[in-house]
């Protein structure tokens, strides 16, 4: 693998949660970012560990799961290109609730979340739209999850 280039503000401009920020702020955020790659099967983070880092997936899929005795590692959600992995660094108790494993080769933009938080804390004009952007992502995830709860594909015979 060749040298890993720094992420650019252009990459962030159209993607949640960064699309609400000004170009200046996007450039600032870009300085906290770097390109990373994970081979298939790599554990990106583990359930229970301190939550550090968040990743904007550029290619590949990441499986989020948890260990269920008797069922093994159960994948409850997969995330694909364009999606953001890792929110727990934003909210107490600041540790991961699920384990994230690269189910294919994954290339992503990784953010230094300590610096991201510092930037957000020091400048509300950056912090507020960034938070709103994350909120939007979480709301969308909730809507998708509620769709799954509806069990729409179930048979009427089972109701």
């Amino acid at each position: 693998m060749g040298p890993v280039p720094m992420a650019s503000a252009d990459q962030l401009a159209r993607i949640r949660p960064f699309d609400r920020l000004t170009p200046a702020h996007q450039s600032l955020i870009a300085t906290t970012a770097r390109d990373v790659n994970f081979p298939e099967g790599a554990t990106i983070f583990s359930d229970g560990q301190p939550a550090v880092g968040c990743w904007l997936i550029r290619a590949g899929h990441v499986a989020l799961g948890t260990e269920v005795p008797g069922r093994g590692q159960v994948v409850v959600q997969t995330l694909g290109p364009g999606e953001v992995l890792g929110w727990s660094w934003l909210v107490p108790p600041y540790h991961w609730h699920f384990t994230a494993v690269a189910s294919t080769e994954v290339s992503a933009v990784e953010f230094d979340t300590a610096r991201l938080r510092a930037l957000a804390d020091s400048d509300p004009a950056l912090g507020y739209p960034l938070s709103l952007g994350f909120f939007e992502i979480v709301v969308a995830r909730l809507q998708h999850t509620r769709s799954r709860l509806l069990d729409l594909y179930g048979s009427p015979r089972d109701r």
Partner: protein, 274 residues
């Protein structure tokens, strides 16, 4: 009632797609029905039990007179039909209804989104488009099922995954062992799909809420509502516009549908108990 009586077809083979869905390959005993357009349905008659409307799920380019229909066991008639075996005789009327309009979609990118057994009425779209591949731009298929064991046409899906002219994404709602594919509702891979809204036609089929959710995702991307086609279902007794049951507001689903564009359908689906 009409003068059109069911034509008799013999079940040539029955294939269990899932625990409760079967694909019947039907061959005419006497006269054959006219060729079908993707999206059309027939009225399948289990003699003495009843008749139900089922979308045709086979290859629209077939010219040997055979008909493939995929049926899910959800009621008395569908149970009787899914219980048929090779050699049994059933009646068929049709094809009826307004189809997907694959011909009119020539020159466009196709985004095909199937939820559960919604893949059955969409299979003719994929097969029809692949048969004239150069007439279309990108062809994307996103199919969702509750669990990996509930996908229809698994062999065909596997073949399509290797088809160079087709982008396939499968996703399941519920976590499952021995599945290393996507886990999430169909709207999730759809949300991250980049499309050219100026040249895309979307065909969506599945439970009504699933079609609404997918349509919202597509509209949020900027796809015009009239470029989103959905396939609706209502109670059908006659299938030919005479019994009144299949009404949805001003539409007769058997005649103006089952395929309706979302510009027309959105407001109707938003009204409770319409």
């Amino acid at each position: 009632m009409t003068g059109n009586l069911p034509l008799l077809y013999k079940v040539a083979s029955s294939h269990a797609e899932t625990q409760d869905s079967f694909s019947l390959r039907l061959e005419p005993i006497g006269a054959a029905l006219p060729a079908f357009e993707p999206g059309q349905f027939t009225m399948l008659y289990k003699i003495g039990v009843g008749e139900i409307a089922i979308s045709v799920s086979g290859d629209p380019t077939t010219r040997d007179g055979s008909l493939t229909q995929t049926i899910r066991d959800v009621g008395a008639v569908s149970r009787a039909l899914t219980a048929t075996r090779a050699g049994d005789v059933i009646g068929v009327r049709g094809p009826y209804g307004h189809g997907w309009g694959l011909d009119q979609a020539a020159g466009h990118d196709l985004v095909i989104i199937a939820g559960g057994v919604g893949l059955a009425p969409l299979r003719p779209v994929v097969l029809g488009a692949l048969a004239r591949r150069h007439d279309f731009g990108r062809i994307v298929l996103i199919a969702g099922a509750r669990t990996p064991g509930e996908f229809l046409f698994t062999e065909q899906l596997a073949a399509w995954a290797d088809e160079p002219g087709l982008e396939v994404q499968l996703t399941v709602d519920q976590p499952a062992t021995a599945w290393d594919g996507q886990v999430g509702f169909v709207t999730e891979p759809l949300s991250t799909l980049e499309i050219d809204v100026r040249r895309t036609i979307a065909f969506v089929c599945g439970p009504e809420p699933m079609m609404r959710f997918c349509a919202n995702v597509l509209l949020a991307k900027g796809l015009p509502a009239r470029s989103i086609k959905i396939s609706l279902e209502r109670n059908m007794q006659c299938g030919v516009g005479l019994c009144g049951h299949c009404q949805l507001g001003p539409l007769l689903i058997c005649r103006d549908g089952p395929v309706i564009d979302y510009e027309c359908a959105a407001q109707l689906l938003a009204t409770r108990e319409l």
